[in-house]
């Protein structure tokens, strides 16, 4: 884990005890973790902080997992969401046409499987992000701006997409 940038994970679940242990394990493995206990809290936190992957429980009081991930992605379009569901609700989630989640996992989720999913979600996020960065760069280069303008615009893009 040491030679890669740390993955920033947002956890959303109303089971506080579960998140307590899950965060501790993830932190110990070198991830950056933020635990939130409701969809509302997660949305609030995501206004100020950037994340790579969100792990969201489907069934929560207040706004549910599907709605939470929708709002999170409105703010951070590249954020990948893993939705944890009780049995049977996978179909419910899929049937409602809200398939924007990176993956649906059955609860209780196996820790090793969760780590694999988080890693894959992160890879996807980076790929998408880099792709769009490249497109934007190409756009700017052909926009007819002066050399100085281009340099400045690309510098902005670096900041927006978090690419050094």
């Amino acid at each position: 884990m040491t030679d890669q940038p740390t993955i920033r994970i947002l956890l959303v679940d109303d089971e506080e005890t579960l998140l307590e242990f899950l965060s501790k394990r993830l932190l110990k493995q070198g991830y950056t973790v933020k635990a939130t206990f409701s969809g509302e809290e997660a949305v609030k936190v995501a206004k100020d902080e950037q994340f790579d992957v969100a792990v969201v429980d489907l069934k929560m009081p207040g706004i549910d997992g599907v709605e939470t991930q929708k709002r999170l992605r409105q703010m951070q379009p590249f954020l990948q969401c893993i939705v944890l569901t009780g049995h049977g609700s996978i179909e419910t989630a899929l049937e409602s046409g809200q398939q924007e989640a990176f993956q649906y996992l059955l609860k209780p989720v196996d820790y090793d499987n969760l780590i694999i999913s988080i890693q894959k979600a992160y890879d996807k996020k980076m790929k998408l992000q880099y792709q769009e960065f490249k497109e934007k760069v190409a756009e700017i280069s052909t926009s007819g701006m002066g050399a100085h303008g281009i340099k400045k615009a690309i510098g902005e893009l670096h900041k927006i997409y978090g690419i050094e």
Binding site: E15, T17, L18, F21, L22, K24, R25, K28, G86, H87, G88, I90, E91, L94, L106, K107, P108, V109, D110, Y111, N113
Partner: protein
């Protein structure tokens, strides 16, 4: 002369009357005959002692006997429970009223025929009882449908209950899993533990993790029963999964002489599918094989599990030398609720669920069976 004349007239009148009665009698007999020949019900008449004197064509068909086989026999011997039937007849006779009851008869070839039985006292002109008439309608199919409905209802209810409980247990189970995972991580880093203590703690934490996984499998299977979820896809080794499935059934095989042989392709056989669903199928097929052998009472039971791989598919077959499936039952084995086990022992759900699962992951089931030789089931599933 005159009295002679009136006598003649009287005789003529009587003769005419008699002819009228004869016609009437003929018509009535024809009418009765028609009913007895064409009704699908069992319509019978007996002497006072229960000896059969008439039996309808429909009755012959329903119970599988011919009239020649039945003439002179006691009606109660056709009932599944002759004593009960006798009691029923006696009680119906006392009040002299018509009585109804549902009772099973026995088919000539075996098997129960449930009938709704109506008994009527046959009396002569003096009002004395001379016999009994019975009309019995075959309600076997109706009865079976009714039982199936009750069973489906009960299963659905059990499913709902199980799903509810499993759902509630899943959350604490998740916490136990994470807590034990965290404990394991802490132990890894802990200083000042003696090697013995460390190994004891590691063992304990591993035990908690493994048992949590086991519980999770159970809750998922229960939830599966209530509602089938979409298959998951992971890579796994079929050979390991097969061996694990056999491992689950150790206790079933323990006190029998059944040998389970693996005829596997060399090396691991990796595929991309849903191992949890497949495991359920494997366990079901192996269980069926064990039952087929136990039923046969063979001293040397043998189950062979074979794997083969083609370009895009994996074929797994389970072959037993058990009792075999008679040809007439081979079509029924995938029917919901079809079972040859006694009530309460088999649900008749195993194979339909297996078929459902295999269909879901894009595979096929085929089988070959011979009575007294054994049965071989083959499932063929896409590699990914």
């Amino acid at each position: 002369m005159e009295s002679n004349n009136s006598l003649q007239t009287e005789l003529k009148r009587v003769k005419q009357e008699l002819a009228g009665y004869r016609i009437e009698l003929h018509q009535t007999r024809g009418y009765l005959q028609c009913i007895l020949q064409s009704s699908e019900d069992i319509i019978f008449a007996t002497e006072v002692d229960g000896m059969l004197i008439s039996f309808s064509k429909g009755g012959e068909k329903v119970l599988g006997y011919t009239w020649e086989e039945l003439a002179g026999r006691d009606i109660k011997d056709l009932a599944e429970n002759p004593l009960l039937f006798q009691e029923f007849i006696s009680s119906s006779l006392q009040g002299g009223v018509t009585t109804h009851l549902d009772l099973p008869f026995r088919h000539k070839e075996g098997g129960s025929i449930y009938c709704n039985v109506t008994l009527i006292n046959l009396t002569n002109r003096e009002g004395q009882r001379v016999g009994t008439v019975g009309v019995c309608r075959d309600i076997t199919l109706w009865k079976k449908l009714q039982e199936d409905l009750v069973r489906i209802d009960r299963l659905a209810e059990i499913g709902r209950l199980a799903a509810g409980v499993a759902h509630e247990i899943n959350n604490p189970l998740a916490i136990i899993g994470e807590a034990s995972g965290w404990a394991g991580a802490v132990i890894d880093d802990a200083e000042g533990l003696t090697p013995e203590d460390r190994s004891e703690l590691e063992k304990a934490v591993k035990g908690i993790s493994e048992q949590t996984k086991r519980c999770r499998n159970i809750t998922h299977q229960l939830l599966d029963f209530a509602r089938r979820s979409a298959p998951e896809k992971t890579e796994f080794d079929v050979h390991t999964l097969l061996k694990e499935s056999v491992g689950f059934l150790k206790s079933e095989v323990k006190h029998t002489s059944i040998e389970i042989d693996f005829d596997f392709m060399p090396g691991p056989l990796l595929m991309h599918s849903d191992p949890r669903l497949l495991e359920q199928v494997f366990v079901n097929f192996i269980t069926n094989a064990i039952h087929a052998i136990n039923k046969d009472g063979k001293n040397k039971g043998r189950i062979e599990i074979q794997t083969r791989r083609t370009d895009s598919k994996v074929e797994i077959s389970f072959t037993d030398n058990g009792i075999g499936i008679p040809p007439e039952n081979q079509q029924k084995i995938f029917e919901l609720f079809y079972t040859t086990k006694p009530p309460g022992k088999g649900t008749g759900l195993g194979l339909p669920i297996c078929q459902n699962i295999i269909k879901k992951i894009g595979g096929e089931i085929s089988f070959h069976s011979e009575v007294g030789v054994g049965t071989s089931f083959t499932i063929s599933i896409p590699l990914s």
